[in-house]
């Protein structure tokens, strides 16, 4: 065994140029797939986390069916047993009630459609961070029931300023038309211009009156300490409250477009990586076959001396194994460094790329992740493709005959 290892090792160095090509192919495949995958998943994770923290929340508790068909008639009065349960679950960091609705917002000179997000100014900051996006003016103070915050774009569209009063018109829970005056206390900029033109944040008490809710709410937004706890808590809540007609929703339910986009992107990435692996596999197969064919005579001598075919194949396998091992060490090391760098220093995009990102509702930034599973799955695929590439050359060796006397005539 030791001698076979020695033979394998020296054979790698004998034609070092070719070995280097094989090695580079392996390293290239690893780096490309780990970095690509890292950026893809890292950027997803970042966007999910940003959306979650910005406003969506880790989870939301709503009446069943509300998410698919949001109507004021699917709102609920949060009873004390729900509140108690939420307080008792240790993974929950905080929660806050919300009312979602639509309406028409009118200034003196203009009017536009609005999506109303009514929040509890005291508790909301435990759940979301959109208040940090306020660029002008201030966030809604707990006592200012009829203050609202709008996007800067809406401010411009309505041709109003901070401190101005607008009228919001909407139909309430009981079917009556609500019609209230609100003071704009601040303006935010989320970065997505569509959202900045349509969203209105309102005090939940103001919304309660405007919409005649009588204490009803659309949703309870819940924040967790850890992204990874989402499935556990979701299940826990569903187990508890499903019978009472509630359901817990995570980002996948709340942002189905984002989820679908990611799934599509994921499929194309997997196809791309599969093609990459296929190309690399053919490269390895080719160099291996060359190196084996070149040594047919040498192998024939070894067979004549009395080595077994299995031992020759073992030499071949050891050669592949050693090269793959080196490739994996160098490749993962290199891609670890690259991923770590991008992880620490997200790349800001600009120009057309940034536009594409924004169009999909993404923040135009490239992130990466240090998720170990990316490295593992890449290493698995590399091992599998090198193993597959070895089969045919090994078969050729298996069929080899011992070197016989040379001249026939």
């Amino acid at each position: 065994m030791k001698i076979l290892l020695k033979l394998a090792w020296r054979n790698i160095w004998r034609n070092w140029r070719r070995s280097l090509i094989t090695l580079i192919a392996i390293i290239f495949a690893i780096v490309l797939s780990v970095v690509m995958r890292g950026i893809q998943l890292g950027t997803y994770e970042f966007n999910i986390k940003t959306s979650i923290e910005l406003f969506t929340g880790y989870l939301q508790l709503q009446l069943q069916g509300y998410n698919d068909n949001p109507s004021l008639h699917r709102t609920f009065k949060p009873d004390s047993s729900i509140i108690k349960e939420l307080i008792d679950i240790p993974q929950i960091k905080g929660f806050s009630p919300r009312i979602y609705s639509g309406g028409l917002i009118n200034s003196k000179s203009n009017s536009t459609g609005a999506i109303i997000f009514a929040i509890d100014p005291v508790n909301e900051s435990k759940v979301s961070s959109f208040h940090t996006k306020i660029k002008d003016g201030e966030f809604i103070a707990p006592d200012n029931t009829f203050d609202i915050v709008v996007g800067k774009r809406m401010l411009k569209n309505l041709n109003v300023n901070i401190g101005d009063t607008v009228v919001i018109l909407t139909s309430g829970y009981d079917g009556s038309m609500g019609n209230y005056k609100f003071r704009i206390c601040g303006a935010f900029s989320m970065g997505y211009s569509d959202f900045d033109g349509i969203a209105v944040f309102m005090h939940i008490k103001g919304a309660d009156e405007l919409l005649s809710m009588n204490g009803r709410i659309s949703s309870i937004a819940i924040a967790l300490n850890n992204l990874r706890d989402i499935p556990i808590v979701k299940e826990k809540l569903n187990n508890k409250f499903k019978i009472s007609g509630y359901e817990a929703l995570d980002w996948k339910n709340l942002m189905p477009d984002l989820k679908q986009l990611m799934e599509l992107d994921d499929i194309s990435a997997v196809i791309y990586l599969a093609i990459l692996m296929l190309v690399v596999a053919f490269g390895i197969l080719n160099t291996l076959l060359m190196s084996v064919t070149e040594r047919f005579r040498e192998f024939g001598v070894l067979l004549a001396i009395g080595i077994k075919h299995q031992q020759l194949i073992l030499i071949l396998i050891l050669e592949v194994f050693l090269m793959t091992l080196i490739g994996i060490i160098v490749g993962t090391g290199l891609s670890y460094l690259i991923n770590y760098y991008v992880y620490l220093n997200p790349i800001n995009l600009s120009g057309d790329f940034a536009k594409i990102y924004e169009e999909f509702g993404f923040i135009p930034q490239i992130h990466s992740t240090m998720d170990i599973s990316i490295f593992l799955s890449t290493v698995y695929s590399i091992i599998i493709i090198t193993a597959i590439s070895t089969i045919y050359p090994a078969y050729r060796v298996m069929k080899l005959e011992a070197l016989k006397g040379i001249r026939y005539t």
Binding site: I305, I406, T409
Partner: protein
């Protein structure tokens, strides 16, 4: 006890061996009904014109080829029913080969080449190193120990190949045209060496050759023609 040389044993016996090659519908009788036995201590040369079947005969003796008809016995054991891996083991333990083109393993040094078969057999490092160095000393090639084949001349490589063939004390050493690639001075040196090994250590050699220098030294000369043994002359020296 007898001294080693005084015990004469039959090592190889061929009984009615024929070899027919057929390719593209044309069949060639390379060997016809050969009966032959080779004893320990012999120094035999198989001569004959090109195409007479020398290589074929050596291949069959060396278990590298199977006869179409007839039986081959090595150490009185019929080898026709042995499988591939048993034959490998037999070659590893009992046979030594010298090839026309030396055919050392390029990535191993002379010493490692000589030790190779013993490594495969799993002989301990100390023992095999000692054996290899001893043979190298006897053949006067110690200074080549750490050289790779591409750092040696053809004659040096062939001497290392001889050392590789005899180091394991095989029953028999088979050499197909061992001098064909060497100039005559180097060839004579090599032949002297092998003759010396035969006389001093009683190693059994079987050669095939056209080369007059090789034929001159044969103790036993077998002349083949068209796959038949034309002459078998013993005790020439």
């Amino acid at each position: 006890m007898f001294k080693n040389e005084s015990v004469i044993m039959e090592i190889i016996r061929l009984e009615n061996v024929s070899k027919i090659y057929s390719s593209n519908g044309v069949s060639v009788n390379a060997l016809n009904d050969i009966n032959l036995s080779i004893n320990s201590g012999e120094y035999t040369v198989i001569a004959g014109p090109s195409g007479s079947g020398k290589t074929t005969l050596l291949n069959i003796i060396g278990t590298l080829d199977k006869p179409s008809k007839g039986k081959v016995f090595i150490n009185n054991e019929d080898i026709s029913n042995k499988n591939k891996s048993e034959l490998s083991r037999l070659r590893l333990d009992k046979l030594g080969f010298i090839f026309q083109a030396y055919n050392l393993i390029p990535v191993l040094t002379a010493l490692e080449n000589i030790e190779f078969a013993m490594m495969i057999k799993g002989i301990k490092e100390l023992e095999r190193r000692e054996k290899a160095l001893k043979v190298m000393r006897e053949l006067g090639i110690e200074e080549l120990a750490n050289k790779r084949p591409n750092q040696m001349s053809g004659g040096q490589q062939q001497r290392v190949a001889v050392a590789r063939a005899i180091v394991n004390s095989p029953l028999i050493v088979l050499a197909d045209e061992p001098t064909a690639n060497l100039d005559s001075k180097t060839a004579i040196l090599l032949l002297d060496m092998m003759q010396n090994m035969n006389e001093k250590k009683n190693i059994t050699f079987v050669f095939s050759s056209h080369d007059q220098k090789v034929i001159e030294r044969a103790k036993r000369l077998i002349i083949l023609k068209d796959g038949f043994i034309l002459e078998d002359i013993n005790n020439r020296r």
